[in-house]
Symmetry: C2
Subunit: 272 residues, 2 copies
DNA sequence: ACAATAGTGTCTTTCAGACAGTATCGC
DNA sequence: GCGATACTGTCTGAAAGACACTATTGT
């Protein structure tokens, strides 16, 4: 086995040059969303260390590169468990949807060094309160409305909870992704328990879109989309808080895409 | 200015631990698509060095982390220029759409070391043939059909041009993103020259979707979507190759979203 | 009794898709 | 002239949204 010494040299340079002389780090951050008390909440941790010590941030941390090498989604799940005590892979919690959101790598986004952050988006049914761990001094489900987010991904002045790094932009991107995905995928069911009613599903749409929907038309629409929900044949044991008949129970269907889609009403302003 | 020595120690550890003892590298790869001879093509380079020496791959390379730190989209544009001679920021070429596609970081995807790759997707009007440079032994626009891609992101057996690394999956993801984006955004115009005809726009949809569309209905539909195209008032100087009246010329409009959308026909099989 | 809610029926408007038809070009 | 193409008109069925209505619950 004779090998060209030149190509070995090339290989050596290609392997060692970038990381030894031009190092950078990779983190994962998670935008975990759930519905609580009829409103959309995001999971945040309070940073114990600087930079941004004391500020709220998305849960996340460094990806294990070589020792204990892990895939990116695994790193996201691990950080979620370490910093908040929420074990997404636990069967009891289960049913959590996780998808990649995007990667944020602008120079200077972390004042310490060059950091490339891969953001993940998680949809979860109502989960217990988190317990701070790892680098987190605190952890909590925070109502989206309290963060004063604008469409551009910056926080309105006077907002009490300032987000660290560029996490306001990441969160804004995650919210827009969630809102869009509810239109053409059945992911709203990921915010519900295994069995749910049509009014509960409507509450998910209303919380994420922050818009009221017509109950009658929504009901007929959901049932008309093939594979969105399937009947359990049973009925909820109790009606809504203000009365009314007991709603029927449904499970998530086998559709991966909604056809026709459930489009958001009145977004003329977003078109141009 | 007194500083808590403990927090300084923490900061030191946080800064130096991950990269010194657990290093990884970040690359950008670009899925650049264009229309040539009525078919969809992707820009590929042939690798000069191993691993995968001689195989075709997406153009890409290492992100400059600290020395000459650059944002991720800048790195994508730079690699495109270095390896293929195509300068996206050149005014003459101009009008290239660039967006982030996703990040691929499975351990073992690069046999040399741990590499996290941020993939970008580019839509371009017909560009000149590329010139190989940098680490590339060759560079060419390759028809998508020649790559034998399956929906799952693997290449059919017997395909002549095998793609390096996990680039078949990245390309498949890019194609699906492109097909979906034509439905609800006016990005098809990014594949056209500054002024274009409706039949040319239809050819873009047919090439990307790999489906024939009804000429008359497509025409009326495009004109009915507000802000998709705007008339120039002029007419093309020549008809199609097989005759017919001279089509009118249009420019891209100011819409960012198509409403109502142009949905792909017959994708029942993708729904479940 | 009353108010709120679950679920269904109906009507109007919009839109996609099929088809036909006319005018204009290259050959 | 012939065939292909650009563009427009018309019809049908699907679907969204507005509204009305009944039945069933908690208070």
């Amino acid at each position: 086995m004779t090998r060209d010494p030149r190509s070995d040299e090339d290989e050596f340079l290609a392997e060692y040059d970038p990381r030894a002389y031009d190092p950078l780090s990779v983190t994962v951050d998670v935008v975990a969303l759930t519905i609580r008390d009829g409103g959309l909440h995001v999971l945040l941790v309070r940073r114990a260390r600087h930079p941004f010590a004391g500020a709220w941030a998305l849960p996340g941390g460094f990806v294990r590169g070589v020792r204990g090498a892990e895939d990116l989604p695994e790193a996201a799940v691990r950080e979620l468990a370490e910093e908040t005590g929420l074990d997404v892979e636990d069967g009891a919690l289960g049913r959590v949807h996780l998808e990649q959101l995007g990667t944020y790598g602008a120079p200077g986004r972390d004042p310490r060094m060059r950091v490339i952050s891969v953001a993940y988006l998680a949809f979860a049914p109502e989960l217990p309160d988190p317990e701070a761990g790892g680098d987190a001094a605190d952890a909590a489900w925070v109502p989206i409305g309290r963060l004063g987010l604008t469409g551009a991904g910056v926080q309105a002045p006077g907002t009490t909870r300032r987000l660290a790094f560029d996490h306001a932009r990441i969160l804004a991107d995650g919210l827009e992704r969630a809102r869009a995905k509810l239109e053409y995928t059945p992911l709203a069911t990921a915010f519900c328990a295994a069995e749910f009613t049509i009014p509960e599903l409507r509450a998910v749409y209303e919380a994420v879109w922050d818009e009221e929907l017509h109950a009658g038309n929504f009901h007929r629409k959901v049932l008309s989309v093939p594979g969105f929900v399937e009947s359990t044949g049973t009925t909820s044991d109790r009606a809504g808080r203000k009365g009314g008949p007991r709603p029927r129970l449904y499970r998530a269907g086998d559709a991966r895409l909604l056809h026709p889609a459930l489009l958001r009403p009145s977004r003329e302003e977003e078109i141009r």
